[in-house]
Subunit: 148 residues, 2 copies
Amino acid sequence: MNKHARQLKIREILQQNSVGNQHDLLQLLRDSGMNVAQATLSRDCAELGIMRSKTDGNYRLRFPDDNASSIIQGLVGIEVLAVHSNETAVIIKTLPGRAHGVGSYLDQLRSPLILGTIAGDDTVLLIPTSVENIPALISYIHKNLSKN
Amino acid sequence: MNKHARQLKIREILQQNSVGNQHDLLQLLRDSGMNVAQATLSRDCAELGIMRSKTDGNYRLRFPDDNASSIIQGLVGIEVLAVHSNETAVIIKTLPGRAHGVGSYLDQLRSPLILGTIAGDDTVLLIPTSVENIPALISYIHKNLSKN
DNA sequence: TTGCCCTATGAATAAATATTCAATTCAGTG
DNA sequence: CACTGAATTGAATATTTATTCATAGGGCAA
């Protein structure tokens, strides 16, 4: 399973080449040793927000340079757009300007899972008391920030 | 021959509605009294530079953002003073008051290397999607924030 | 371990979009 | 008035992209 690496490679390829369609991109991916089906590439492109548009008579695959698009991922609270994590921390994406409120709310719950929170404008960083608690923390967040 | 009027109408429709594909756009065009073939609409879309991309799980036709990211890149470059990291995160030092702009710029690139960013006044904290990506993330930052 | 669920994937297929080709219109010209 | 060429269009078709459906593997709880 190297989906992540593959999407990185896609990014790299599109930054260095002018690619007109997914078929060509697929070739370049294969040239670089990553052999996947067209269906998979289509899904990758969708996930990465890649678009195809015509300029100067030629088509080109490109990333959006558009700032406003937010990725709403789960059934989480109205202000919360997504919850992500890596090995050491959890990130909550919120509506613009709402991160502080969400962070405060979580602080006030005084969960033993949470060591601390830092809020920016639309992002809350959660540091867990232990990295082992991250899965539990994520379900805790979903539970406490869910819409219903 | 009302190609021009039609393209204007297309613009108007896309500004007021969320349209997921050309077929739906065609319907809306017809509802407003302009009856053309799918082929014609396809050509109009190409000429107008309209793109289709997936956000929040749905497709959407949209105009390109005239917000040229290469210009922003130049501006962002001169705001960045240094890039540092430890085992779990990356810190970018910026000119006073400029961290938010730099963070937003990085967010908008939607790199799969970046889990999230939090900006203070002159510091951006970057959380990588995986700690293994930190070296790649650092070179990615240098690449995307370089002055030249 | 076993069973269950969730994610990622490919093959086949469906859906969406682009292009080809022939036809039409219209402006300009002899 | 014919004729020519360029622009626009629709129908049919080709190409490109997305989704469905089945499967395989990984993580996790019992």
